[in-house]
């Protein structure tokens, strides 16, 4: 036997023993878990700590789910990953959802993650922009042309009878308060967490117009493909129960979540900042409807209004019937 043959034989023997050991461990564990991948709109950030702490808290494992999180760069990415089969559920925004439905994709909304709209438009006090109509003729920053900040800016403008053609939209990227501070834009579209962080970084006195005061359309949903909805109802149900448990935990134990975010979130170095961000997300996860019918309940009527608004400002071409898209039968009992 040559040297190479001997090495190959030894490697084969080692791998065979390792494989058998793995199979034994699997058999002894006795618990069969189903792999379930969430396609997110972001990197694993503090806002979604409840999805990241599975290793320590085991909410999903308790329901027989082996949870995986796939990062994205926006709600569109999350949906694309869902539609390509890379994920089982997408954590996505209404705008991306409407755009996909408009293209004929067969999707189902199964859970309202943030029933509160978290978007805003921020301007320096000196600009004296206090209502949407004041935005006419102004330069307004957005994260990107495909971002929720741009879409929600359009919702705000639409409510005041304006459109994008009445303002100048400027793509600022994620560091969107820098152009505002430097006077390169008159206002900037942001989120509640973005505004909080901006204030910590020296933003100063600002006027804030919150989109929820004009049309409180939810910020994010869990969306599945129609075929997944039909074929994996039990699995989706278990996932939603586990997610609800994790969301409740984050509301009841925000400090613990903030401390765990240091370990699991890519932007979670500062526990006190984590705590504030988690508190904001907890607040956006509840509404009068969820108090009555449980976390995750979808307000179909407001979602329909949003779909009509999106058609009115040209983001979608077709009428969408959201009552056909929303499916609440898999939501766990309150």
């Amino acid at each position: 036997m040559t040297f190479i043959q001997r090495v190959g034989f030894i490697l084969l023997a080692v791998m065979s023993c390792w494989g058998q050991a793995q199979a034994q461990v699997q058999a002894q564990s006795g618990n069969k878990t189903d792999k379930f991948t969430v396609a997110g709109w972001s990197k694993p950030i503090t806002e979604i700590t409840n999805l990241l702490v599975e290793e320590d808290k085991g909410f999903f494992k308790a329901k027989g789910i082996d949870l995986a999180y796939a990062p994205g760069a926006g709600g569109g990415d999350a949906l694309r990953n869902l539609l390509s089969g890379q994920a089982d559920v997408a954590f996505t925004d209404p705008g991306s959802l409407f755009a996909a439905l408009d293209k004929g994709e067969k999707l189902r909304v199964v859970y309202d993650i943030y029933p509160q709209n978290v978007f805003n438009v921020v301007s320096l006090k000196s600009a004296n922009i206090t209502k949407p109509a004041d935005l006419k003729g102004k330069r307004i920053g957005v994260y990107s042309l495909s971002s929720g900040t741009r879409q929600n800016l359009q919702v705000l403008l639409h409510q005041a009878g304006l459109s994008e053609s009445d303002v100048t939209v400027v793509v600022t990227g994620l560091l969107n308060f820098a152009p505002l501070i430097q006077g390169q834009v008159d206002a900037t579209a942001a989120t509640d967490t973005g505004l909080w962080v901006g204030r910590q970084k020296g933003l100063g006195e600002v006027n804030v117009m919150e989109v929820k005061n004009f049309l409180n359309v939810s910020s994010d949903f869990f969306v599945v493909r129609e075929d997944t909805y039909q074929q994996k109802k039990d699995l989706i149900k278990r996932f939603l129960q586990a997610y609800r448990d994790s969301a409740k935990w984050m509301m009841q134990s925000p400090q613990e979540a903030a401390d765990l975010a240091v370990k699991f979130a890519i932007d979670g170095q500062n526990p006190s900042a984590n705590l504030e961000i988690i508190k904001l997300r907890n607040a956006s996860s509840v509404s009068a409807l969820t108090q009555k019918r449980g976390l995750g309940t979808v307000d179909v009527e407001t979602l329909q209004k949003a779909a009509r608004a999106y058609k009115a400002f040209g983001l979608i071409q077709n009428d969408l019937n959201m009552s056909e898209v929303v499916r609440l039968d898999l939501l766990p009992a309150p």
């Binding site: 990197k43 796939a70 990415d77 890379q86 560091l175 973005g194 962080v197 933003l203």
Partner: protein, 262 residues
């Protein structure tokens, strides 16, 4: 008789002047930020960046991300080098293949890879593989181009000699073209080493949960400009070290093969 500067003294003087320029730029930057009251969101001071970098290294926060990017860089560079070197040999030796394939290879370099990142996830799934593939795609071209050039520009007289001696194509390649073209090939490698960092970091922008590229995006999202700069400093340092290491390797090989004096 005037004393002349030796080459090593000139090099030392150049290094000192270069370092002095860097220090002056940093001092000016620090002064500007403090004197003008520039927001940390817009431009953090060098002291703030240094502190963030130090804290990140000391707390262990940055190390997993560095190791992730380093692993992807190494894997992508290896794949890119294999593709570039083998591709360069084939295109250099077989003119028909070169005429057919080269336009497509050049096109692949013109297409912005970042635009393909979401598709890479669809094709290769999540994890490190999309980043490794992107890194390989970005860094293989210099090595391919240089290998192709090296192989096709062998000394004509020596080629004739090999033909007269009835050397096989393989023997001509291995014993004449490649040894002669070694400096050119190694130059391509040096460029690939630097470009691979671009590929690894850019690949992580959209597809990764961990790594220095992912950290840049996260830092932007949390408006931590100081952290963003600190990560850029790390990437620069890693890139510079790998470039210098490649240079050392290159000089060693060229000395062993007689291109440089020992």
């Amino acid at each position: 008789m005037t004393k002349r500067n030796t080459p090593s003294t000139s090099k030392q003087v150049t290094l000192v002047m270069s370092a002095a320029l860097c220090v002056c730029a940093l001092i000016l930057w620090e002064w500007l930020v403090r004197a003008k009251g520039i927001s940390a969101l817009v431009l953090p001071a060098p002291s703030s960046i240094a502190l963030t970098l130090w804290q990140g290294l000391r707390s262990g926060y940055l190390w997993p991300h560095m190791l992730q990017t380093l692993a992807e860089w190494a894997a992508g560079l290896s794949l890119g080098c294999v593709l570039g070197f083998v591709g360069g040999l084939v295109l250099g030796e077989v003119s028909l293949v070169r005429q057919i394939a080269l336009p497509y290879i050049v096109t692949s370099q013109v297409v912005p890879k970042l635009a393909l990142a979401p598709l890479f996830i669809v094709w290769f799934g999540f994890g490190a593989l999309p980043t490794v593939v992107m890194t390989a795609l970005i860094c293989f071209f210099p090595l391919l181009e240089n290998t192709m050039t090296a192989v096709s520009q062998a000394d004509a007289q020596q080629l004739d000699l090999f033909r007269m001696l009835r050397a096989s194509r393989w023997a001509t390649l291995v014993q004449l073209k490649l040894p002669q073209g070694l400096p050119t090939v190694l130059t391509g490698l040096r460029m690939a080493v630097v470009l691979a960092w671009v590929g690894a970091v850019v690949g992580e922008f959209t597809t990764a949960s961990k790594g220095l590229g992912a950290l840049i995006i996260a830092a932007q999202g949390s408006m931590d400009t100081a952290l963003m700069f600190a990560v850029l400093v790390l990437i620069t340092a890693l890139g510079w070290v790998s470039y210098q290491a490649c240079g050392v390797f290159e000089r060693f090989v060229l000395r062993q093969t007689g291109f440089l004096k020992r």
